[in-house]
Amino acid sequence: MEITLQVNGKARTVDVDPRISLLDLLRERLGLIGAKKGCDHGQCGACTVLLDGRRALSCLALAVAVEGRAVTTVEGLASGDDLHPLQAAFIEHDAFQCGYCTPGQLCSAAGMLDEPGPSAVTEDLRTDPGLTPDEIRERMSGNLCRCGAYVNIVSAISEVAR
């Protein structure tokens, strides 16, 4: 099937098998290897991208099902040589060790900062709470880091959320 997607602002048209995931399409066909394949089952968050601005798992999306939509990968976060504020904060706060989960952490955090409403740890669901460290930890729980850089990831995101 021939499909067209907007990938990091550019229209890309590809002929795909209906079985291919968005993650495999990005990595194997479009040469965008930023999104990582960790578990391939939606449990680790390493493949997180933005779909129409909302964070989503590219391993659980069939490429044919996201036809016509806008995909932003970690490669599309920076503006030219200017890093996205989250990328700069991750460097400043040493928010990674091996770096394998980092593209997913960055895309997830970028999406999370724009998400309205409470989370599971918000006491009063009628309020829109500020992004305290507890709120950030809960909202980022879909991104695992086997190196355990969580403490610095939370500080990096906190700096940008402020």
Binding site: G45, A56, L62, A65, G111, L125
Partner: protein, 323 residues
């Protein structure tokens, strides 16, 4: 993954018309795509219903109609749901992760399959996946499986948090199919395994959920609580959706209790509710009600911990609502 044909439906009627044996509807895909990758689901054809114009939450008189393709995150963030049905917003927020909730639909959440490890492993027997092949969980690892309403064929649990809240709220599931439209009350969408564990719900082949409708919220305070092995992004060991209305005289005027993680269905605790109605809203009464419900439990050796866990969860949740 086995190969399949893919088509996108523009209307619910078209989706139903397009359905044939071997067809599955695709919503957000957060469960189905994974099951296809595991070889557990092997559709010949996917009809993508995720873009159907059923993505609105609408007030209809004193009821709320939630479209089938509303994303879980949009449901939980809706100001009306947060204010009037906080147990539902909380239940949705405790499920999965931000990325999954952004994509998963309301109908797909109801129709997700069990996370029983044997069901998801095609190298093992499983009566739900391959009817008649046996249930290794009963003699094997059933630590997180059912203690209520299970059968000799299947001890799987339904994994949804949202469905537990909808069961307590008495939601109605609106369905369309070749036989016309119908409304299925909750509890009632999901079924106990019996000797047909391959059937999770009462839906007929080709039937499509188009909406979930909420009656006005029950009076009193309401809450959703979830007990799990880690604080976030994990399925429930046990969960509870409860509403309690205590009259001026200190007796229970109204009560709703539904339990998750215990059965093949989101479990409405009718015996506990009956035991509480008209009686005192005290810890002792809550304990008696919990015990009345759990008399029906038939735990296996490795999940017997769920009986006292559920009892204590019911009591502490009701005490919290009463105070």
């Amino acid at each position: 993954m086995k190969t399949f044909d893919y088509a996108r439906a523009d209307s619910a009627a078209e989706a139903v018309r397009d359905h044939a044996p071997g067809t599955m509807y695709l919503g957000g895909g957060t469960n189905l795509v994974d099951l296809m990758r595991l070889g557990v689901a092997e559709p010949d054809r996917l009809v993508d219903v995720s873009r159907l114009p059923l993505d609105r939450i609408e007030q209809a008189g004193d009821r709320v109609r939630i479209g089938a393709t509303v994303r879980n995150s949009d449901l939980a963030a809706d100001p009306g749901i947060r204010a009037r049905y906080p147990m539902l917003a909380r239940a949705v927020l405790t499920g999965a992760s931000g990325q999954v909730r952004n994509v998963a639909t309301v109908a797909g959440n109801l129709l997700q399959r069990t996370r029983c490890a044997y069901f998801q492993d095609v190298t093992r027997p499983c009566n739900k996946r391959r009817p008649g092949s046996g249930c290794p969980a009963i003699a094997g690892d059933h630590t997180n499986l059912a203690i209520m309403g299970a059968s000799e064929a299947c001890v799987a649990t339904h994994p949804s948090d949202m469905a537990v809240a909808l069961t307590a709220l008495g939601a109605e599931v609106h369905v369309t199919g070749t036989g016309g439209d119908r409304v299925i009350p909750m509890p009632g969408l999901h079924r106990l395994p019996g000797d047909e564990p391959e059937r999770d719900t009462v839906l007929e082949p080709g039937e499509l959920i188009v909406a979930v409708e909420l009656p006005p919220p029950p009076p009193g305070a309401m809450v959703y609580r979830k007990v799990r092995e880690r604080a976030s992004f994990a399925f429930a060991l046990v969960s509870i959706a409860a509403a309690l209305d205590v009259g001026a005289d200190g007796t229970v005027a109204g009560c709703r209790i539904a339990l998750g993680g215990l059965a093949h269905v989101p479990w409405r605790a009718e015996r506990a509710e009956q035991a509480l109605l008209g009686g005192p809203a005290t810890g002792e009464a809550f304990l008696r009600a919990a015990e009345a419900e759990l008399e029906q439990a038939s735990p296996l050796p490795r999940n017997a911990y769920k009986v006292p866990l559920t009892r204590n969860l019911i009591v502490s949740t009701l005490e919290g609502l009463a105070s």
